[in-house]
């Protein structure tokens, strides 16, 4: 499908990709239904608070160095500002750079709701520019600005004229109600970068665009890529507007998470012919090797990649085999975004851990390449058994019901606040929150030992589980986890 940069806002994942947030079944079925297009969303008649796409889109953009985010919203939407500021400062310090990005709000109030607040927004854009001289200004919308019909695009068009031409000023359409899928927010941030920051290429560079979250394996990857004579450019965290403007000049785009990177990767490929390396993620041995080979193919360094793989395998494979002996037969449940659920499921299978149930928060039948996500394609071809799958929209009550029924040895989480609930039910749990936690051979080995340590010392969860009351009724634990799905999608 074409990435349309003429539109100010990106279409939601639901409408663009047919993505869903409610499903219960199994791996083979969801793959089959995704491929043949019969997969329909199931609505829920009970739901718990989840996350909105604004956190993802503005969260992504606010990691860019020396820019300004203006959230046209009431004060609550801007609550993330200080967390962003502190993370920016910690991550910039770690890298030895500075990041002067600011995240401000328009503090919309009752008067604004009745009379509109575009005048105030106009003033704040200029005030923010004068205060901080940012390298770009992104104005995020909100549920409230959307419902009262604020024409933010037109404010931006007018204000742009009063701000130096080389400073991108653009709207990020991220009203919280737009999409049930927070990952639509990743697309919204990519859309604004593609349409307002990336410039047509002037030359070809030897760089590889690397879309990730927080750069924790930055040094290893720089070293790794040096073997192939190329340089990674990480974003959005700690990236500069100048670096982003040159994404079109890169040799290729790769990512650490298919859900995170697919819109930008495909967009750069469509618009500027930058190849998007659309393999599984570099997690686990099989993932890392497939990813590396995908890169090698695109940059014409296949022989060097094979050489590298050969050397590294010698260092790690025996060690991984050793720890696998102790992991064999463990049973696991996962609850993550689809960009990680199926990737981690693959790694668990590789380590000999049985995947009992994989819950993903949403499900993409396809990515913007029009293809089934690579991680599902891989499992379709390689998983030697079927396992239960649900699309759980972060619904904790469904997860706890599943854990109660299946009583796995370990639960794998990835998102804030979701890990503790498993241990309250006495289940060991490990949060795969660093996106590089299972990166490459060493990451796989470290991960295997962390899993082992987690299930070997159960003190923390046993202590807690013995002393707390669970949040749900006994009635709920006796129901099927998909009780509240109310039929075919409406």
């Amino acid at each position: 499908m074409a990435v349309s940069l003429k539109q100010s806002s990106v279409a939601t994942r639901e409408s663009r990709l047919g993505s869903v947030t409610g499903y219960s079944g199994d791996l083979y079925d969801i793959i089959h239904q995704s491929k043949c297009g019969t997969l329909k969303n199931k609505e829920r008649c009970f739901s718990q608070s989840s996350t909105c796409n604004a956190s993802c889109s503005l969260g992504q953009l606010s990691g860019i160095r020396d820019i300004a985010i203006i959230n046209h919203a009431p004060s609550g939407c801007t609550a993330m500002a200080s967390g962003t500021d502190v993370i920016n400062s910690q991550l910039a310090t770690k890298r030895g750079v500075t990041n002067a990005t600011v995240f401000v709000g328009t503090d919309m109030d009752e008067h604004d709701t009745v009379f509109g607040a575009t005048g105030n927004l106009k003033d704040i854009i200029l005030e923010t520019y004068n205060r901080y001289k940012p390298k770009a200004i992104f104005i995020g919308t909100s549920c409230l600005s959307g419902i009262i019909g604020e024409d933010v695009d037109s404010v931006v068009r007018k204000r742009k004229k009063e701000i130096p031409e080389d400073i991108p000023v653009a709207t990020v359409h991220c009203e919280g109600f737009r999409s049930r899928i927070w990952a639509t927010g990743f697309d919204a941030s990519d859309h604004v970068i593609l349409s307002s920051v990336v410039k047509p290429p002037k030359k070809k560079s030897n760089k590889i665009n690397f879309k990730n979250f927080y750069e924790s394996a930055r040094n290893e990857i720089i070293e790794l890529f040096a073997n192939f004579g190329v340089e990674p450019v990480f974003f959005y965290q700690n990236a500069t507007i100048e670096e982003l403007s040159e994404l079109s000049e890169a040799l290729a785009t790769v990512n650490i998470c298919g859900v995170l990177g697919s819109y930008l990767g495909n967009g750069l490929q469509e618009q500027y012919g930058v190849p998007y390396v659309n393999t599984v993620n570099p997690l686990g041995v099989a993932g890392f090797e497939a990813w590396l080979r995908g890169i090698g193919k695109v940059i014409g360094k296949e022989a060097e990649v094979e050489e590298y793989i050969k050397t590294e395998r010698v260092k790690y494979l025996d060690k991984i085999e050793e720890v696998k002996k102790e992991l064999k037969g463990l049973r696991a449940v996962l609850g993550m975004g689809p960009g990680y659920t199926y990737e981690v499921a693959r790694v668990l299978q590789e380590l000999g851990i049985e995947v009992v149930w994989a819950a993903s928060w949403h499900h993409d039948k396809k990515h913007d390449s029009e293809e089934l996500p690579a991680s599902l394609q891989y499992l379709d071809e390689h998983s030697d058994y079927n396992f239960k799958v649900s699309v759980a929209d972060q619904q904790n009550y469904e997860i706890l019901n599943i854990l109660n029924e299946h009583k796995p040895d370990i639960y794998f989480s990835r998102h804030p606040g979701t890990t503790v609930w498993a241990i309250k039910q006495g289940c060991a749990a490990l949060c795969v929150n660093d996106e590089y936690m299972i990166f490459g051979y060493k990451g796989t080995l470290d991960f295997a030992y962390t899993v082992l340590d987690t299930i070997k010392n159960r003190s923390f969860e046993k202590n807690l589980a013995a002393r707390i009351k669970l949040p749900y009724t006994d009635w709920w634990y006796k129901q099927n986890n998909s009780t509240f799905f109310d039929g075919e999608g409406k």
């Binding site: 909105c52 004060s75 500002a81 200080s82 967390g83 704040i124 419902i147 804030p416 009724t473 509240f484």
Partner: protein, 432 residues
């Protein structure tokens, strides 16, 4: 002039969900978009028996925006009663639900015969910040849940202070206030935190007195409690930190409740002598510093700006530069709040500025000559200005991102010592 929220130090009214969450047994039901709960829950210690992942929520989508969300709210409440094991369900409205015109009150009314109480508060983010939201939800609980008591219990005193979860020391402070009140023979009753909750809430109407320890927050509600249940209240503006303010607090409570004066003086003597035993031992650290100037600024909400100013001036002998209040305190209270800053020892008066524009506050601080390294107590936002002004700095109010506070407290005699520990643990990192 535009109203820019630069360096937010408050959230929106829907953060009332944290107030509900802090009453064990109660759970908020959010009639809101999918992201409100997660955004407003930020910060350490916001999980627990319930957390935002558990809060039932209508997760309003485009469909409800277009067609209305009342039906969805009804089914969510219905099923919340089946799935979530709570004693009190508090439906909270949001920007979206209010602007699209859903009548949440009417929907909640249809649950009046439900087997558990379901009540409602209007908390759209555009209507006010989280300080106001806190008061609105407590008001809703008083009006819709509490019932008059058959009798008053002698010596039972409700204590109201601060804002749960948003104030990082909310619970430690509340427990210390309980201990202070208990030390003079009264029986404290609070509704928040471990081993309190619905059973304590049910006792609120039978209390003999309400004590509000806050410059303005909660004032409407103690007035409401007086009107509804005839409970007289003491409005004590200063959160007591350290010996001087704690002793003043105890005397004021004793005076108001009619506790035996002799007992109170005995308690005060005992506490003060212990407090000053420590001060005596560590006075050289305070007196012989090469790095700590006499001047300070607080950048915080009304509660801490006032309480810390009082402690640092009246107990610790420092001198106030301008103090900043960032909670957007309602205009009607501002005159009174300012006047509290003029009641300092030796006729010292502290200038006060109300502002939610962190950029301007920081500019002001940078333009101030503190005649040495200043002391700045504030939030994570002050880290940078502290670096720029070579200040000694401690984050004590939201947002606090780089410090973990579990149950510590700055209230009371021991709270004052704890604050000095924290301040001088920073001071001692520099020789000159």
């Amino acid at each position: 002039m535009s109203k820019i929220l630069d360096q937010p130090r408050y959230k929106c009214a829907l953060t009332a969900m944290q107030t509900v969450q802090s009453i064990p047994g109660a759970i908020p039901i959010l009639h809101s978009g999918p992201g409100c709960g997660a955004k407003l829950a930020g910060g350490a210690g916001s999980s627990g028996h319930f957390s935002h992942n558990i809060f039932p929520c209508t997760n309003i989508s485009e469909k409800e925006v277009v067609f209305g969300g009342e039906k969805r709210l009804k089914e969510i409440i219905d099923n919340a009663l089946k799935v979530v094991d709570a004693e009190l369900y508090v439906v909270l409205t949001s920007c979206t639900s209010e602007v699209i015109g859903d009548d949440a009150e009417e929907i909640v009314r249809s649950f009046k015969d439900a087997n558990k109480p379901v009540i409602y508060a209007s908390t759209p983010g555009f209507k006010g910040n989280n300080y106001l939201g806190n008061d609105w939800v407590v008001k809703a609980i008083i009006n819709q849940y509490l019932k008059p008591a058959e009798k008053k219990t002698k010596g039972l005193v409700n204590i109201w202070a601060s804002i749960p979860l948003h104030d990082p020391f909310w619970l430690g402070n509340l427990r210390e206030l309980e201990k202070l009140v208990e030390s003079i023979g009264l029986t404290p009753n609070t509704i928040f935190g471990h081993d309190r909750g619905i059973k304590s809430l049910n006792k609120v109407p039978e209390a003999e007195f309400n004590i509000l320890v806050s410059p303005w927050l909660g004032l409407e509600n103690v007035k409401l409690l007086e009107k509804k249940f005839g409970t007289p209240y003491l409005h004590y503006p200063t959160l007591p930190i350290g010996a001087t303010e704690s002793s003043k607090f105890l005397r004021a409570v004793a005076e108001f409740t009619g506790v035996d004066k002799e007992l109170v003086e005995k308690v005060i003597d005992k506490n003060e002598s212990e407090y000053f035993y420590y001060i005596e031992r560590f006075a050289d650290v305070f007196l012989e510093t090469r790095v700590m100037a006499k001047r300070f600024s607080i950048v915080s909400d009304s509660q801490y700006s006032l309480a810390l100013t009082k402690f640092l001036v009246n107990d610790f002998g420092l001198f106030p530069e301008k103090q900043y209040i960032t909670d957007d305190a309602p205009v009607k209270y501002r005159k009174n709040i300012e006047s509290y800053f003029k009641e300092l020892n030796y006729d010292i008066k502290a200038e006060v500025e109300f502002s939610s524009d962190g950029y301007k506050i920081h500019k002001d601080i940078k333009d101030t000559d503190y005649h040495g390294y200043p002391l700045i107590l504030g939030s994570s936002w002050e880290k940078k200005v502290a670096r720029d002004t070579k200040a000694h700095y401690l984050a004590i109010s939201w947002p606090v991102n780089e410090r973990l506070i579990i149950n510590s407290s700055y209230v009371g005699y021991s709270g004052g010592l704890k604050l000095l520990e924290d301040i001088y643990s920073v001071v001692l990192t520099r020789f000159n």
